[in-house]
């Protein structure tokens, strides 16, 4: 692989990760916390209504996890293409 091909392949994989992670980002906050909140509220999580829980707690936990997953994935990807340092 030339440098250019390598860079393109790396970028493609990176974009794929971004699409997956940002979809999850959208689903937990705008989906579960806002658009489908009323439907989810009929389900209970202990003392919480589920939609309310996603809006005020759950989405934030997922955000933190998403970034750390991204960090791991990218560190691996950097290694695979020899971009780590």
């Amino acid at each position: 692989m030339t440098d250019k091909q390598k860079a393109t392949a790396y970028w493609k994989e990176n974009l794929r990760y971004l699409v997956i992670l940002l979809t999850i980002w959208f689903v937990v906050s705008y989906g579960a916390g806002i658009l489908f909140k009323d439907a989810l509220n009929s389900i209970r999580l202990g003392g919480f209504k589920l939609g309310f829980w996603f809006a005020q707690q759950g989405s934030i936990y997922v955000f933190v996890i998403l970034i750390f997953v991204y960090v791991r994935l990218m560190n691996k990807l950097d290694k695979k293409y020899g971009y780590d340092e």
Binding site: G46, K49, F52, L66, V71
Partner: protein
């Protein structure tokens, strides 16, 4: 020991610590001054970013706001945390690889144009000044409340303290001071939350206590929903805003967060691209500790407030109520003359209470502007976090700790913002535009002068707050969303994006946002009153309009760029280069 003595001790100790760090981390070069020499570890950078991010508003006002807004308060919780995901995935690593000092630097180089740079500098100054003006007022309020001085003296003390940090240390001093400030503020926020959660639900973790059971075996949130419905309020867990507006506001806040210059600049201070990603994650982790606790505090405080005051005899109300009444942030009018406090839906007074200076038959402070609503109680939203430890009868040192935490939050944010303003002036304007031959020493000197001027202007805003400041602080996010965010994202992800597209997008975006904000929120003093909510476009509030303006920006950028020539080869190479993480080097001059 009294609360006052404890406050003095804790404030003195924490301030001594901050000053010690500022002196230890003095900046010697422009690089140390602007980006802390690029050598800050991700952990320290994460804490500093968190402290920079969480202002007096997050610390003091947010939980109070949520406790009155219920579900609608979620816009702040998701909006001000979700932006970090965008930052970590879409911005931070690439901007770090690019390796310059500021956001206008990136825009100027990526769009090979001084015009683009100038537009970016102007946007950065508008955004930062709207933001910092509110902060200085916050600093003043916190100082005056805790040190028992008039509010203007509070602002001046705050100006002096911020000046010393920013002047001595630049980014380096501010970063390490913010690490200490983070520790103080998070400790101060969590301790009362643990105590209260334990008291109310038997579970010391507030995030769990919020979903726990109260005495009698009922879930806390159900109790609160029931109290709300009984008193005529909407269910706490339901809210009143439309789904579209909640969506728009949340998105505007998220995107705005990722576009705020004082947040982005943080990711220039770490050594490698890898560290930029990691430090965004750590920053959000540190922020999430406060942001998941705040809604719990909101629920505790709301329930406590209703249960402590509603239908209770004024004569038997605990002392904290009368203390806050004396500050003017609480007021009670016995409209039905039964000696009891009725707290139901509706405004008790028209606007803020106007005290007559006389006392009523129960010893309450009389107000002249009571209206005919059945609600008899006025509560300022800002007192919830501050009064919470008192309402729950916590020890004096805990109440004093909240004071030290509030000060740490206010100061760390003000210092970070002022640094961005001074960098915009000394680096982006003077060095890049007016006098490119300025020596490093001269630039450093100019940066310090710019800080001095910025602090004086911000301080004046704090002492003579124009009515619109409070109204526009939230809109700083809309402005950032409408201007920077698309230009940066498209600069990284769309190689074909050129200067015509980016400049047109930024100008249209920020103009549209400013127009909407003036038309529907602030008005033009003496010329036009703000238009009513019934005329909002698609029912979008000014706070949520950043989302619309951002979409318009993207569309305009796209159309204009495709209609004009592609960017030069050298710029396309820059884009290819920043997409690869290795070889970031240090943040440098050209």
């Amino acid at each position: 020991m009294s609360v006052q003595v404890w406050t003095w001790i804790l404030v003195a100790v924490t301030f001594g610590l901050y000053f010690g760090i500022a002196i230890w981390a003095r900046a010697g070069s422009t690089k140390e001054f602007y980006v802390a020499g690029g050598g800050v570890s991700p952990l320290a950078n994460g804490m500093a970013t968190a402290a920079d991010w969480m202002s007096a508003a997050s610390f003091i006002s947010m939980a109070g706001l949520i406790s009155f807004m219920g579900y609608d308060g979620s816009v702040f919780l998701m909006g001000w945390t979700g932006g970090y995901v965008l930052l970590a995935l879409l911005l931070a690593p690439y901007l770090r690889k690019f390796g310059k000092f500021t956001v206008p630097d990136f825009i100027g180089d990526r769009y090979y144009s001084n015009t683009a740079r100038t537009v970016a500098v102007i946007c950065a100054l508008i955004v930062s000044f709207t933001y910092v003006a509110g902060q200085m007022r916050g600093v003043g309020i916190v100082f005056s409340q805790f040190l028992q001085v008039p509010i203007n003296i509070g602002v001046i003390i705050g100006m002096g303290v911020v000046l010393v940090f920013a002047f001595l240390g630049g980014m380096k001093g501010i970063t390490y001071t913010q690490v200490a400030q983070y520790c103080v503020l998070i400790f101060a926020f969590m301790v009362p939350a643990f105590f209260i959660s334990m008291q109310m639900t038997g579970n010391p973790i507030p995030q769990l206590g919020m979903g726990g059971k109260v005495e009698g075996g009922e879930y806390l949130l159900d109790t609160l929903d029931k109290l709300h419905t009984d008193l005529g309020f909407n269910e706490y867990t339901s809210g009143t805003k439309t789904t579209w507006d909640v969506f728009a506001i949340t998105l505007a806040l998220m995107v705005g967060t990722a576009g705020l210059p004082h947040v982005i600049v943080r990711f220039f201070t770490v050594p490698k691209v890898k560290d930029a990603r990691k430090s965004a994650g750590l920053a959000l982790l540190f922020i999430a500790i406060l942001y998941t606790t705040a809604p719990a505090i909101a629920v505790f405080a709301r329930t406590n407030l209703i249960e402590t005051v509603n239908e209770k005899e004024y004569a038997e109300i605990p002392a904290w109520f009368k203390n806050w009444e004396n500050t003017g942030l609480l007021a009670w009018t016995d409209k039905n003359a039964d000696g009891k406090i009725q707290y139901v839906k509706g405004d008790a007074v028209a606007g803020k209470p106007a005290f007559t200076g006389e006392r009523g038959s129960h010893g309450e402070r009389l107000v002249s502007n009571a209206n005919d609503s059945a609600n008899e109680l006025y509560v300022d939203r800002d007192i919830m976090v501050l009064a919470n430890p008192e309402i729950a009868n916590l020890p004096n040192w805990v109440i004093a700790l909240v004071a030290a935490g509030g000060l740490a939050a206010a100061l760390s944010t003000a210092a970070g913002l002022l640094l961005v303003i001074s960098t915009s002036i000394s680096h982006d304007l003077i060095k890049k535009q007016i006098n490119p031959n300025i020596s490093e020493k001269g630039e450093l000197w100019a940066a310090r002068m710019a800080i001095l001027v910025a602090i004086v202007i911000a301080g004046l805003f704090g002492i003579y707050p124009p009515g619109f400041v409070a109204a526009v602080v939230a809109l700083a996010f809309g402005l950032a969303a409408a201007s920077f965010f698309p230009a940066i994202i498209l600069g990284i992800f769309d190689k074909r994006m050129n200067k015509q597209g980016a400049i047109a997008g930024m100008i249209v975006g920020i103009t549209l946002m400013l127009f909407y904000m003036i038309r529907y929120k602030t008005g033009l003093i003496g010329v036009m009153e703000p238009r009513p909510a019934s005329e909002w476009w698609f029912g979008t509030s000014p706070e949520g309009f950043g989302t619309v303006a951002m979409i318009v920006n993207v569309v305009v950028s796209f159309v204009v760029s495709r209609a004009t020539a592609a960017p030069p080869e050298s710029v396309q190479e820059i884009v290819e280069n920043i997409r690869i993480p290795s070889g970031a080097g240090e943040a440098t001059h050209h």
